[in-house]
C-alpha cells in the first residue's frame, strides 16, 4: 500500500460520512453526520482540514457549487470519494477487522452495545 494513502482514524470517519451522504456532501453535512452517528463533538475546522488533506492525497475530489440560501452569498464546496479513496478505505477497514477478529473482549463489548 502506498504510504501516503494510509488513513487515520478521523480520515476514515470523514470518508465513511462522504460515502453515506453520497451526492451533495459538503463540510457542514459531513460534520453533522459524524457528530450524529458517533456522538463525537467535531469542529468544522477539523472536517475541512481533513477533507483538504484527503484531496491532496487524491482520495477525494471537490467542486464549487452555487451560493445557497442562508449562506450570505457564500458558495458550497461539494466533496466526493475517488476510486483510490474507496480502495484506501477498504484496506484500512479490512486491516482493522483482521486485527479485531478473535479478540473475545471486543466481541463481548459488541454484544453489550447491540
Amino acid at each position: 500500500m502506498p504510504k501516503g494513502n494510509s488513513l487515520g482514524d478521523f480520515e476514515q470517519l470523514v470518508m465513511l460520512a462522504l460515502i453515506r451522504i453520497g451526492e451533495g456532501a459538503y463540510g457542514m453535512i459531513v460534520r453533522r453526520e459524524i457528530e450524529d452517528r458517533t456522538g463525537r463533538n467535531v469542529s468544522l475546522g477539523a472536517v475541512y482540514a481533513t477533507l483538504d488533506r484527503l484531496e491532496a492525497k487524491g482520495l477525494v475530489r471537490s467542486s464549487i457549487g452555487q451560493a445557497g440560501q442562508g449562506r450570505r452569498g457564500r458558495a458550497k464546496r461539494f466533496f466526493s470519494v475517488e476510486a483510490a479513496g474507496l480502495d484506501a478505505l477498504r484496506r484500512a477497514l479490512t486491516a482493522l477487522d483482521r486485527m479485531r477478529a478473535g479478540i473475545d473482549e471486543l466481541d463481548r463489548i459488541k454484544e453489550v452495545d447491540s
Binding site: R31, L44, G45, A46, A49, R72, R74, K76
Partner: protein, 186 residues
C-alpha cells in the same frame, strides 16, 4: 431563551458584521474561508437557531470558529511547508554555498568591484527565494546571478569553479518546487 430568540428566523442579514468578519479572517486562514464561513452560518441559522435561539446560535458559531482555528492553521502551514520544501532547500543551499563562494581565495583576493559582483550574484537568488514564490522571478534571479558571475570572471579573470554547481542545484530545485506547486493546485 426569551420570546425574541424563539421568534428569530435568521441571525440577521448583516451577520457576521464587519468586525466579526475581521475576526473571522484572523481565525480562518485564506483558501477555503468563504465555504467554511458559509457552512458555519448555514448550520448556526438552520440547525442551532431554531433549536436553541439566537444567542445560543451566535455562541455556537463563535465556539466553532475558535475551535476550528487550530486544525485549519495546522493544515495551512503544513501545506505551505510541503509546497515550499524545495524553496527552503534552495535557500539553505544558497546560505551555505554563498559564504563559501565569497570566501574562495580567488574571490577574496580580487578587486572590490569583483567582490561586489560575486556578493550580488549570491544575494539576488537568495532574496528571490525568500520574497517570491514565482518561477519567473527565480529564473530571472538565476540568470542575473550567472551574468554577474560571468562579468566577475571576464573583468578579473577569476576562476568560476565548483560553485557553478550551486546554480545547477538551484534550477533543479526551482523546477521541482514548481512541479509540487502545480500538483498541489491541480
Amino acid at each position: 431563551m426569551n420570546q425574541t430568540d424563539t421568534a428569530s428566523v435568521t441571525l440577521g442579514p448583516d451577520f457576521p458584521g464587519p468586525m466579526s468578519r475581521c475576526l473571522l479572517s484572523l481565525l480562518v486562514p485564506p483558501g477555503r474561508r468563504e465555504e467554511f464561513v458559509g457552512d458555519l452560518i448555514e448550520e448556526a441559522e438552520t440547525v442551532v437557531l431554531p433549536r436553541s435561539g439566537r444567542r445560543a446560535a451566535k455562541r455556537w458559531f463563535w465556539r466553532q470558529a475558535l475551535t476550528s482555528a487550530s486544525p485549519l492553521y495546522a493544515r495551512h502551514f503544513h501545506k505551505g511547508v510541503e509546497m515550499n520544501r524545495a524553496r527552503w532547500i534552495a535557500i539553505a543551499l544558497l546560505m551555505v554555498l554563498g559564504p563559501l563562494m565569497a570566501l574562495d581565495p580567488n574571490v577574496f583576493g580580487a578587486s572590490p568591484g569583483t567582490v561586489a559582483l560575486v556578493v550580488l550574484a549570491i544575494l539576488i537568488p537568495t532574496l528571490a527565494c525568500l520574497v517570491s514564490g514565482n518561477l519567473r522571478v527565480y529564473a530571472g534571479a538565476a540568470l542575473a546571478s550567472a551574468v554577474l558571475l560571468l562579468a566577475a570572471r571576464v573583468s578579473s579573470g577569476i576562476e568560476i569553479r565548483w560553485y557553478a554547481m550551486a546554480w545547477i542545484f538551484f534550477i533543479i530545485l526551482m523546477v521541482n518546487w514548481r512541479i509540487e506547486h502545480r500538483l498541489q493546485s491541480s
